[in-house]
């Protein structure tokens, strides 16, 4: 941190200024001129919060993707399929057990098991053959998508959060002041806040696991040099299976999250595959903090785009990707 400030004083100043402006925008009561120029504060705050929570969802999907890629150099194009399977598994788990919270571990275990099967039955047989693996995963995603359409139909599935989570909660942020001087506090969907906190917990836990534990050390070593790790007597196949299972399980959890505040239906698999591709390209392939940063950027871009220039909202995400590819092809936090 300190090294960054001494090395890039100009950038530090710009970032500090941006942060200060953002804080002011969040906490201050907006003057009329600003409201006239960019709309009400309520809209801005909601776009900001929604962008961050949507980023949380994207992070859950993309972190598994980037973890698998980082360790095994395997572009798993069936990742979106795992996400969708997780959504369906979560829906049935939630409606059978009647508990929304139970849907998470069940989806994690079921989809994690699918991931383990994929690794053992498919990827192990074609290790090191990138192109073949990529093509096989495309094939799997198409076949499974059709099987899911056959099994679950084309209906839209919503996973219902429990009573105490549905509906809005009042935050301490003031969006407007009434003419008699009483402040209007912002209301925000409870479930989104909880899901975002969950994503943060998962992210921090992953970071700690990777940087503070022995297994994490082995995984990081594997990312850098697989052969050397294997040569030093680590059972690398077991690590591969574990990481693949964990990455797939995360996609499954993300499916439950997606089914809760969006919906699960045919076509969601490719949408989330595309989203996680964009996120990891922007953030840097194989980097967990990169996935977090990329997810946040893409989520914010989508939400701010949808309110401030709806017609071009779709373009904005890809614009970010193009700019990153042009100026920093390895991704924002990627290593070249």
């Amino acid at each position: 941190m300190r090294r960054f400030t001494t090395r890039h004083p100009v950038w530090t100043a710009i970032i500090a200024l941006a942060a200060a402006i953002l804080l002011w925008l969040i906490f201050a009561a907006w003057p009329d001129g600003l409201t006239d120029a960019i709309g009400r504060k309520k809209i801005f705050l909601n776009a900001l919060f929604n962008g961050i929570t949507l980023g949380g969802l994207y992070f859950l999907v993309a972190s598994g993707f980037t973890l698998i890629f980082g360790l095994m150099r395997n572009v798993n194009l069936a990742h979106g399929t795992l996400y969708m399977l997780g959504g369906y598994a979560g829906f049935y788990a939630a409606s059978l057990t009647g508990s929304w919270i139970l849907a998470f571990p069940i989806a994690f275990v079921v989809i994690g098991a699918c991931g383990v099967l994929l690794q053992v039955l498919v990827f192990r047989r074609m290790e090191g053959e990138d192109l073949r693996q990529t093509l096989v995963t495309i094939g799997i995603s198409i076949v499974v998508a059709d099987l899911m359409l056959w099994g679950f139909g084309g209906d839209f599935y919503n996973i219902n959060p429990p009573e105490w989570l549905s509906g809005p909660m009042q935050t301490f942020l003031v969006t407007a002041v009434k003419s008699d001087g009483t402040p209007v506090f912002m209301k925000y969907p409870m479930v989104r806040i909880v899901i975002f906190l969950f994503a943060v917990v998962v992210g921090v836990a992953m970071w700690l696991a990777l940087n503070r534990t022995r297994i994490g050390m082995m995984i990081r070593a594997g990312v850098d040099d697989r052969e050397m790790l294997a040569a030093s007597g680590i059972r690398i196949q077991l690590i591969f299976i574990g990481v693949f299972g964990f990455g797939a399980g995360l996609a499954g959890i993300a499916g439950v999250v997606g089914g809760t505040f969006q919906s699960i239906a045919p076509g969601e698999d490719t949408r989330f595959l595309l989203a996680s591709l964009v996120v990891v390209i922007v953030g840097g392939m194989g980097s967990i903090p990169g996935a977090a940063l990329g997810a946040l950027l893409i989520g914010l871009a989508e939400q701010f785009g949808s309110v401030y220039f709806p017609t071009y909202a779709v373009v904005l995400t890809f614009l970010i990707m193009v700019v990153v590819l042009a100026f920093r092809p390895q991704g924002l936090l990627g290593r070249s």
């Binding site: 709309g39 309520k42 809209i43 705050l45 909601n46 776009a47 919060f49 929604n50 962008g51 929570t53 949507l54 829906f91 359409l149 139909g153 084309g154 209906d155 839209f156 599935y157 919503n158 996973i159 219902n160 959060p161 549905s166 509906g167 809005p168 209301k187 925000y188 969907p189 409870m190 479930v191 989104r192 505040f261 969006q262 919906s263 239906a265 045919p266 076509g267 949408r271 989508e302 939400q303 701010f304 949808s306 309110v307 709806p310 017609t311 909202a313 779709v314």
Partner: protein, 421 residues
């Protein structure tokens, strides 16, 4: 002598070939090309459209005008280019006699243009609802037996203003031709009744996260008009509930369609009591409608169909029925560029489950529209309850053709909200 013999022999041979050709055309099966969205966002409605076709064929024993009927199904994904590709394959490769389809608004416009390049093939619309399909530069061999998106709005503006007492409304809709057409119909009637449309929000088709748009919706309006469909509609309702939205809602036609009303989860409950309008209502007691619903329920086992047919099933059912009736009338004669068949279609009075349908000079349907409200049935499923029937809705919505032309075509900002048109 030899040459003369050869000449007459070849003439005989030619005649024989011609005769067998003609005979084959008269007795052989008639092939209908079906263009239907069986992929993408509208795959579920598309499947129900197929049920409509099958039901009409079953009721006709797969025969019309003394000839067998065969169908070739071509799937699209609701994009205009997939519809065009599909139509090309049906007409140029499979050589079908006529085409029924497509499903979605923008596809319909693409098929209108394509039909002009194939003057000897007849096109009957499936359930595409964009106004331009028959309004602008109509094609002489294209017939539409469903009323369009603006006609589907007929009666709603008046109802919510006078009966519900909503004076100001903001609209939110997907950014494409069909929703423009629906909002067009709603705005003209609502504003003429005295209401005011304060703001119009447009979101890209396929938007999944509406969180910020929900926050941007104005608090001070009486109601919000929702022009969304399929997955977008379900996502909006889900997030609207989570955000604690309490405004009165008004639904566009596909917002309250069977595919949304039958979705899994609680999101759809936000729709209970929401007024809407469209070509059909689940609880209609017109005998033509109840007979059709019974036939639909008998034909397909429960679980493989909706509780009652969606408007997509009805649209394709009506189109197929019109074609089969006219094939009966012309006794299967599709010669001379299908002139007799087209003549019959143009002048047909179709007694459909959704009322009597006739065609205007642009071969566009004049038919019945209904205002509905979503209710919860005893078994917990949702249905559209009939509120009001508006008969003989034409494409200019009762305005004179000149006044209607002055309005311009539906777009994001058109038409303006005025008290008189």
């Amino acid at each position: 002598m030899t040459r003369g013999l050869l000449g007459s022999l070849s003439t005989v041979a030619l005649i024989a070939v011609g005769a067998t050709g003609a005979a084959a055309q008269d007795d052989g099966p008639i092939t209908i090309g079906i263009l239907n969205a069986l992929e993408g966002t509208y795959a579920v409605p598309g499947q129900d459209g197929m049920r409509g076709i099958e039901l009409a064929l079953m009721q006709h024993d797969h025969k019309a005008g003394g000839r067998d009927i065969e169908i070739v199904v071509q799937s699209t994904d609701t994009t205009p280019d997939s519809a065009l590709r599909g139509a090309r394959k049906l007409v140029e490769q499979d050589g079908v006699d006529f085409v029924i389809g497509p499903l979605s608004g923008s596809e319909g416009i693409a098929i209108r243009d394509y039909s002009k390049t194939q003057p000897d093939v007849t096109f009957i619309n499936g359930i595409s609802g964009a106004m331009e399909m028959t309004m602008v530069d109509p094609s002489p061999n294209l017939f539409r037996f469903n009323i369009d998106g603006a006609q589907w709005s007929k009666g709603l503006g008046d109802y919510v203003f006078n009966e519900k007492g909503y004076k100001t409304v903001a609209t939110i809709g997907e950014d494409y031709s069909f929703i423009y057409t629906q909002v067009f119909g709603f705005v003209t009637e609502f504003c003429e009744a005295g209401g005011e449309v304060t703001e119009r929000f447009w979101v890209p088709l396929g938007t999944k996260d509406f969180g910020s748009i929900i926050a941007a919706l104005p608090d001070e309006v009486d109601a919000i008009y929702l022009g969304l469909g399929g997955g977008d509609a379900v996502n909006f309702l889900n997030q609207y509930q989570q955000a604690g939205g309490e405004a009165n809602l008004i639904g566009g036609t596909i917002m309250v369609d069977a595919s949304v009303l039958n979705s899994q989860g609680r999101a759809k409950e936000a729709l209970i009591g929401v007024p809407s309008s469209g070509p059909q209502a689940d609880t209609w007691d017109d005998p033509r409608w109840t007979e059709y619903v019974d036939a639909y329920r008998d034909a397909f086992p429960e679980g493989e169909r909706f509780p009652s047919p969606s408007l997509f099933a009805t649209g394709y059912y009506n189109a197929t029925n019109a074609a089969l009736q006219c094939l009966d009338t012309v006794e299967g004669d599709l010669s001379d560029d299908q002139v007799a068949f087209r003549d019959c279609l143009s002048n047909l009075t179709l007694e459909s489950p959704t009322g009597t349908i006739t065609l205007d000079e642009n071969r566009q349907a004049i038919g019945t529209n209904v205002v509905t409200e979503v209710v919860e049935r005893e078994d917990g499923t949702l249905a559209n309850e009939l509120v009001k029937v508006v008969e003989n809705v034409n494409q200019t919505l009762g305005l004179s053709p000149e006044a209607f032309a002055e309005l311009g075509l539906p777009s994001r900002e058109n038409p303006e909200c005025k008290s008189e048109y």
